[in-house]
Amino acid sequence: MMKSNYKLTKKDFNQINRRSLFGFQLGWNYERMQGSGYLYTILPQLRKMYGDGTPELKSMMKTHVQFFNTSNFLNTIVTGIDMAIEEKEGIDGQDTVAGIKAGLMGPFAAIGDSIFGALLPTIFGALAANMAVNGNPLGAFIWMLVNFAVMFFRWKQLEIAYKEGISLVTTMQGRLTAITDAATLLGVFMVGALVATMVNVQIAWTPSVGGLVIDVQNNINMIMPRLVPAAIVGIVYWLLGKKNITSTKAIFIVLVVSIALSALGVISK
């Protein structure tokens, strides 16, 4: 069986990174999700390793076009580990590679989604939005800077993964758990802060009992300022836990209820 004699160079890494950064998800589809994207990012390298027109290349291309879906921020870690194995074992590593791809895409999807899909947008998106509603675009540009820093790491991780191989996953595990834990804490803290500032609604209802007008909002303020926004978030949180309630449905329910309560004079801006 033919072994590949090709060694990846700096140029190859740059090419994979370029293709990943600017094209990894262009072919996303319901059937195999990022499958064709994975093949696209490493196609030139596969051709160099196995040689054009060989049955090995065709067989490997078929392997790499299969179902794949992971975080598009961490996909090149899987690619790097994959490339190291294929470089060493060639077509013999086919099953190993398929197994590693299938085994790693889930965990990396989870890590990537929680850090890049939820946490960074929470912290920096919230800052940006907070400044934006006051007419200040500065926060948005701070967020953009952070994204460029993330891009730098996305570019670097491929080569690190290639060098460290599968052992990287185990060494990363401990540190990642600690980082994720700290980051989610910051996320939760920030949501608390946002609830207190960004939901600007109050009770407009002022019932009069025996000639005495009660300012409900004022009474609430004495208990705890910003209690109304906290209660609304709590209710929506509870609502989202119900079956068949998607985020889109929740948005529309809030829309309708808010309009109704406003029309009845219960709440105002």
Binding site: V146, M151, V191, S247
Partner: protein, 295 residues
């Protein structure tokens, strides 16, 4: 015509570009706050764009593309809401609830269509693999950019070209016959960020970090009340006393984030040291030195 043809062209181009940015390079240009900024810039009213973009950003704060599921398209919503808000003269908060949110959720269908269209190209790639046609594989792969881009650009183009008079008549009704609905939409626009926060909490380990949720809320609620009150006092003083020239800023959110960061840093220190302690404990057990006091 409320929105000029060159504005429509630029907004359409942005709508087509932003989805590609979000999928790949992720500069941030594909976030609602930037959609508002860009649309505001094109329409010549950045403040309105930022208000709409910022509010939509908060509304979708916790919504990501998890596992490739479609999410509501806040960007297209923001672009259209900003364009009509500036072009026709609609209150930004009303535009959020009346245009941005409905458009954003309707656009889910376009997202599904775009992803579906790519299945066609995926099958073409399969046959190109059989033929060992490498250029063909790449060409069919890159065609995916078309389905993505057009799925956003075409609806935005159509809505901007033909939606103007429709939105215009809606605004008219909201400001006259249906005043209560117009006000209601404004209130709804102010409440919507609450949904974003609630969704986000669903994704975060709230129960584990509950104390920090309370801390974040209480610290900020108290400080924002203090800052707002001082500001109100200051403004009133300026009007009354001539020699009073101090100005007060609003509460800096970054400072609050720093408190949160300090707490998170402590947690990181604690958890990254914890495994060592556990190992130590385990080895202690092996030697048979069980410390009952520790329990």
């Amino acid at each position: 015509m409320a929105v000029a043809w060159w504005q429509i062209l630029l907004l359409t181009l942005y709508a087509g570009y932003q989805i590609l940015d979000e999928l790949q390079v992720y500069t941030g240009l594909a976030q609602p706050v930037f959609a508002g900024l860009v649309a505001g810039l094109i329409m010549g009213d950045i403040t309105t764009g930022l208000i709409i973009g910022g509010s939509m950003q908060l509304t979708v704060l916790g919504i990501g593309t998890f596992g490739g599921s479609s999410k509501i398209d806040a960007n297209s919503g923001t672009v259209l809401a900003t364009a009509f808000s500036v072009g026709i003269g609609m209150e930004p908060e009303q535009a959020i609830a009346a245009i941005a949110v409905p458009v954003a959720s309707l656009m889910i269908q376009m997202d599904i269509l775009g992803r579906f269209a790519n299945t066609f190209f995926a099958h073409r790639i399969d046959s190109k693999i059989e033929e060992m046609d490498y250029k063909g594989i790449e060409r069919n792969y890159l065609m995916g950019a078309l389905s993505w881009s057009l799925s956003r650009a075409v609806p935005v183009l159509l809505a901007l070209s033909f939606g103007g008079s429709f939105v215009n008549s809606i605004v008219n009704v909201l400001n006259n016959q249906l005043q209560w609905l117009g006000d209601g939409l404004s209130v709804a626009g102010a409440v919507l960020p609450a949904v974003g926060f609630a969704i986000l909490l669903r994704y975060l380990p709230v129960k584990k970090h509950m104390p920090y949720l309370i801390l974040g809320f209480v610290i900020t609620a108290l400080l924002t009340t203090v800052f707002t009150s001082i500001r109100t006092l200051g403004d009133t003083m300026t009007g009354v006393a001539e020699g009073f020239t101090n100005t007060f800023t609003s509460m800096p959110m970054l400072a609050i984030a720093m408190i949160g960061f300090a707490l998170a840093f402590r947690e990181y220190k604690r958890t990254s040291e914890a495994p060592k302690a556990a190992v130590h404990n385990a080895s202690g057990l092996e030697e048979g030195e069980i410390d009952d006091d520790e329990i």
